[in-house]
């Protein structure tokens, strides 16, 4: 059968290209693990040692009970001041000795006892918005936990806790990062490498020989991308294993579903790579296009690092056409929430739609002649 021999010939050639370029291969295999370690340790945004001031104009049993929650949480908080008046904190806020102030109302114990609504103000140093929002969320979580555990609780302080935190109450950033990291790594391996590998044939001149041969465009593409499907899959497994072994990040849902969804996203990313390769003619341009067109959106608009819900609406709208945005929802769902296909069918369908569209566009745009 003619198609099969050509396909395996092509596949063998591609595998050799990949194995001969062992430096790139080493990067492609080593990078995902290195990223897990980097994101897990070096740039982890877990908050440690928040300098907290507690402002209680009238200390009572309730304020002492709440303050002790923070004093006990020595990993996260350092209670640096307990004062009656917030005004004295101003200079300390400014020079960073205090990063956050918990402002309790007068007569807290009494108000809670009577079941009246109370307002607790949390003032946070927002100079670094990411850390700021994390500190805020962490403090809100502790107040809420304290409130929930109070004996004789009738009504609690009116505090909204973002539902996003529900499944990651201690805000372990590794847990949040790993699903996004998988999307990021797969984008690099699949989209970037595919774009480069097809354009390389144009650049070194072999595409002219391939075009003059009876190979059909889809045969060229399938032969090109098949090894990268395997490589991408290997990377997913590496990331999951590394995250599990180093940080104890679990996959709460089905492993099989996790791998199947990853496979789907690998194909999506390959589709992006093919489309890029059809519109560029040098590896350099292809790489820039892949960086700007796939990696940056994956990094910035997928919710991997910055929550989509916190973006202004034009960016939220733009994030809808970033496939990684949907894949991050899927991976977080499967890994952190233990969600199944019943919960994620919509996102899965969207990804499948992207994939089909990208492949159709990519293969149709592949030239059967020289430009």
């Amino acid at each position: 059968m003619r198609g099969r021999r050509a396909f395996f010939g092509f596949l063998g050639k591609e595998v050799r290209h990949i194995l001969r370029d062992w430096q790139t291969l080493l990067v492609l295999i080593g990078m995902p693990v290195a990223q897990v370690v980097l994101f897990g340790y070096a740039v982890r945004s877990d908050i440690r040692g928040i300098n907290l001031a507690i402002v209680a104009p009238q200390p009572d049993a309730a304020t002492a009970s709440l303050a002790s929650r923070f004093m006990d949480a020595t990993d996260t908080y350092r209670v640096v001041a307990s004062v009656a008046d917030a005004a004295s904190l101003e200079p300390q806020f400014r020079d960073g000795r205090v990063r956050q102030a918990l402002m309790l109302p007068s007569g807290l114990a009494g108000a809670l006892g009577r079941g009246e609504p109370v307002t607790i103000a949390v003032v946070t140093d927002g100079a670094d918005p990411n850390t700021g929002s994390l500190m805020e969320a962490s403090t809100l979580a502790i107040v809420r936990a304290w409130d929930a555990g109070r004996t004789g609780r009738r009504a609690g302080p009116r505090i909204d806790v973002e539902t996003r935190m529900r499944f990651n109450p201690t805000l372990e950033s590794v847990n949040l990062f790993v699903p996004g990291l998988i999307a990021y790594v797969l984008t690099i391996v699949s989209a970037l490498m595919t774009a480069i590998t097809i354009v390389r044939e144009k650049e070194i001149g072999t595409m002219e020989m391939l075009l003059a041969s009876p190979l059909r465009p889809y045969q060229i593409v399938l032969g090109k991308v098949a090894p990268y499907v395997a490589l991408g899959f290997l990377d997913v497994v590496l990331v999951l294993v590394a995250a599990r072994l180093i940080f104890g990040v679990p996959v709460r849902g089905s492993n099989a579903l996790m791998l199947a969804e990853s496979l789907l996203y690998i194909l999506t990313a390959l589709g992006m790579g093919i489309v890029i390769s059809t519109s560029t003619s040098t590896q350099r341009v292809a790489m820039m296009a892949a960086l700007a067109g796939t990696m940056l959106p994956t990094l910035l608009l997928s919710g991997f690092i910055f929550p989509v819900s916190a973006m202004p609406w034009p960016l939220q709208a733009a994030s809808n056409v970033v496939p990684a945005r949907w894949f991050v929802v899927i991976t977080r769902g499967v890994m952190l929430k233990g969600a199944g296909l019943a919960d994620l069918w919509r996102e899965t369908l969207i990804l499948a739609g992207f994939t089909a569209a990208l492949f159709v566009v990519g293969i149709r745009r592949l030239a059967v002649r020289l430009a």
Partner: protein, 337 residues
């Protein structure tokens, strides 16, 4: 004169192969290709007979590569039509591509794959194997075999071209297009390469070869002289040389050095009957404007004319090379461009 030099581009040229439409391996009629405002190929017509070794000679930019890409279905023509072994490259490319052997002008093998891996890959692309095609490629493979395990990147220029030829042949094509196969290759390797082409020709392979090297023209059955997208002349190499219309004299300066030769060149170009003067290696080729006179007498006269100006040089009549003929056609065609 202008019209006459362009005329042979049409049908019916070439005494050795009277063109008949039926059975021609390649037929091109008015092939034209533009890139933006640049006219790369300007109404080119010719025919190649089965089994013929047909050369396209011309400088860079003459349109040779564009023509080959049109015939191998890699470009679509803006005007004109062609048939290659019975297929129209514009409409019937998949059938054509199965039977076509093409060696592009750019080195187009995988540098990180070994010699045998490159060959096996191209065999698989055409749904065959190296072993099954050994009869076809054996003469070339014999020279490549000692380097079978070497990466293509580490081959010498000549070996790279032999490997490319081998890859273009590995599916036993019905016709072979070789675009400047010897460009950038040393003289010995060039000769070896043409020896291989001669063997293929004996086996009946139809070949179209382009080259900027005039000396290679003599190894073709017929050559087409190309310039600025047009075919100036198509003929057997001997006929091209014989058709040189003027007396040709080789002038060699007595002294050594560039200054002496430049002085000689300047002096000759001021000769009242000089049609053209071109440096050819260490000598100058002087073409006389007058068609009639006996070359031997002209040589004597020119020697005396130089001596009268204090320049010592030997002058002797020579017969034209392909390059002389080409230069003549090129300069006489120029005003028409």
């Amino acid at each position: 004169m202008k019209a006459a030099t362009r005329e042979p581009a049409g049908v019916g040229s070439g005494a050795a192969h009277p063109a008949t439409n039926v059975g021609a391996a390649v037929q091109a009629r008015g092939l034209t290709k533009r890139f933006g405002s640049v006219l790369a190929l300007d109404h080119v017509s010719f025919e190649v007979a089965p089994g013929e070794l047909f050369g396209f000679i011309g400088p860079d930019g003459a349109g040779k590569t564009t023509l080959f890409r049109l015939l191998t279905s890699l470009y679509l023509p803006d005007e004109g039509e062609s048939r290659v072994i019975g297929h129209d490259p514009a409409t019937d490319m998949w059938a054509l591509r199965r039977r076509l052997g093409y060696m592009p002008g750019r080195f187009s093998l995988y540098p990180d794959l070994t010699v045998i891996e490159n060959l096996q890959f191209y065999a698989s692309v055409f749904d065959t194997t190296v072993a099954a095609q050994m009869d076809t490629i054996e003469p070339i493979w014999r020279q490549l075999a000692p380097f079978a395990g070497r990466r293509a990147a580490a081959l010498s220029g000549g070996m790279k071209q032999k490997l490319a030829l081998c890859c273009a042949l590995v599916h036993s094509p019905s016709i072979l297009f070789l675009d400047e196969p010897t460009t950038g290759v040393d003289a010995v390797s060039r000769r070896e390469f043409w020896d291989l082409l001669a063997r293929l020709r004996e086996g009946g392979m139809t070949m179209l070869v382009s080259t900027p090297y005039m000396d290679e023209a003599s190894r073709c059955d017929r050559v087409a002289l190309m310039q600025q997208g047009r075919i100036l002349r198509i003929d057997r190499p001997s006929a091209v040389r014989a058709a040189f219309p003027r007396p040709l004299l080789a002038v060699t300066a007595a002294g050594e050095g560039a200054a002496v030769r430049i002085g000689l060149l300047a002096a000759l170009r001021e000769h009242p009957d000089a049609a053209s003067v071109w440096p050819f290696g260490s000598t100058l080729h002087f073409t006389d404007r007058r068609a009639g006179p006996d070359p031997a007498r002209l040589a004597t006269e020119l020697g005396e004319w130089l001596a009268a100006r204090g320049i010592a040089a030997t002058v002797r009549p020579i017969s034209a090379t392909i390059e002389d003929a080409f230069m003549w056609d090129m300069t006489s065609a120029e005003p028409a461009a």
